[in-house]
Symmetry: C2
Subunit: 317 residues, 2 copies
């Protein structure tokens, strides 16, 4: 029922799956999680989800539950509630997850891709509160976005809006995992930061990064940690990635004129080490009248974002 | 009144000003236009507009008129109805055009920047009919955009959404009129096409372009005309500009996932000479799942767009 006080949220990730019961203020009343048994196929994962959903709903009368919100990696069809082959969920090919859950629990179900659902969570409860036009950007292994425009989630024509990580920022730049060249993700994501450190390893033998790890094993995490201790090389590599991020955000801002851009993991961990060079790039590449109304800030919800992502599907629209 | 059958549309341009009376099917029932006496200051231009608006409203009972819609170059504040210093209207500095018209005619007035208003016109009556997510792009002296998302005009936080012409497409590229470098407008607009022809003039003495005009006087129009007659050099210059346009549209499409992009003047005049290289660039720079749902087409309304732009402000939302 539309005004029922409780909402179930389901988070389907390649590493972990989780279910929560929450109220409309975002308080988590019950929570279950498991490592995703992704290799055993979609039926196994669905049975994990069923088990946990039953546990969080235990003892709650159905008419007290507004609905179930599912957050999952794309590609997917939010309208039909069908999940197509996410790269981290092998064997998922057109799984009608919405219908499957509706039949099992007798509750209405909404499905949304994780970037969009997390954007809603930051908008409802995190760094995007009170804004009308907000962009949430994941900044970790990948770079993706969720767009809240005129106060509502904008999904695009086939659920692909917000793929800012795959806009071209550097013509003929490095090859991206998506097959294109010069994508923002190929220049500024965690793996891009690691790749850049590795490329420049021989030129920076004295860097603290190489006291932590070898060029073969370096990750963005090592670079961020060294940068936080003042390592010049690590700061250079981070600033370069952040500069590209600033250019990508400038292009986004010239198109969408948002009032806030909320940035995920790397901005949360590295803070001003990336935000400062990012803002400098924004000054060069975005108009001052666009910047006047724009704040670029780190996300606030941390791990709570995943819990609240599905829940928020029943709080918006 | 909300269901009154007639609407007055006002178009304020740097070269001409025009007023029309139309019905809600977009039929123009009366039309007046004059050359803009821009150099005489805003009061003179407003008196031109008053005169023409009175003429098109003559004999029409006020209660038969839904409102007046004004389309004008930005920057402006659509909410407050105030026009700030458009580059082509010297001396316009915070002119409260909405209030001025409301007081004079006793009718409700809406103000919108010309790219947005033309987007609405193409959406209601032109190449964007029937779409939910559409981008209209001017492609002439400047490159600007109007965004129709989920069926409604999206203006951004301070009326600057859609400034796609000033996204960075080529890092450290040519200087743009806006002060930035490598903007799409500096690479693909009419003046950019002319500049490129001029730059390459010495290398292309045999081109038909130089039978029409001199390098000093060349315009995009000369290049398009020569290209249509088969001139290789002119086709090269057009294709280069169109390629940048395709990259800019690819970035836009990765962010907005629209179903149609409607292109103005240069696409209308040059047709496949620009659309073909543009689509090739799109294939390289936008995902196939994004392209699957996307059509890129020339605008359909031609000169009628300006007439209908203001009128459409009373047909949407």
């Amino acid at each position: 029922m539309a005004d029922a006080p409780y909402i179930a949220g389901v988070d389907i990730g390649g590493t972990k799956v989780a279910c929560v019961l929450a109220d409309e203020e975002g308080n988590i009343l019950a929570r279950r999680w498991q490592l995703t048994r992704a290799q055993e196929g979609w039926q196994t994962v669905v049975s994990q989800l069923f088990e946990m959903t039953e546990q969080v709903l235990e003892g709650v009368p159905r008419q007290q539950v507004r609905g179930i919100g599912i957050s999952c990696g794309g590609p997917l069809d939010s309208q039909q509630g069908i999940v197509y082959s996410p790269p981290n969920l092998p064997g998922w090919d057109a799984v009608p997850i919405k219908r499957i859950f509706e039949e099992r629990f007798g509750l209405p179900v909404r499905l949304e891709n994780d970037a969009n659902a997390t954007a809603l969570a930051e908008h409802c409860f995190g760094a995007g509160r009170g804004t009308r036009n907000m962009v949430f950007m994941t900044w970790g292994t990948g770079i993706g976005g969720g767009l809240i425009l005129d106060g509502r989630l904008y999904r695009g024509t086939n659920d692909l809006a917000g793929e800012i990580g795959h806009t071209t920022v550097l013509l003929d730049g490095p090859l991206c995992g998506c097959g294109k060249r010069g994508c923002l993700e190929a220049l500024a994501s965690g793996p891009a930061i690691a790749r850049r450190a590795r490329e420049l390893a021989e030129a920076s033998p004295e860097s603290g990064v190489w006291q932590r790890t070898s060029p073969d094993a370096v990750t963005a995490q090592h670079v961020v940690e060294s940068a936080m201790e003042g390592d010049t090389f690590a700061r250079f590599v981070l600033a370069e990635a952040a500069t590209y991020m600033g250019i990508g955000i400038a292009n986004l801002a010239q198109i969408l004129n948002p009032e806030r851009v909320v940035l995920g993991t790397i901005a949360v961990k590295a803070g001003e080490l990336v935000l400062e060079p990012l803002r400098r790039a924004l000054e060069v590449h975005a108009w001052s009248r666009v910047r006047q109304v724009l704040e670029v800030v780190p996300a606030q919800l941390g791990d709570r974002a995943q819990d609240l992502a599905g829940v928020c599907l029943w709080l918006a629209d």
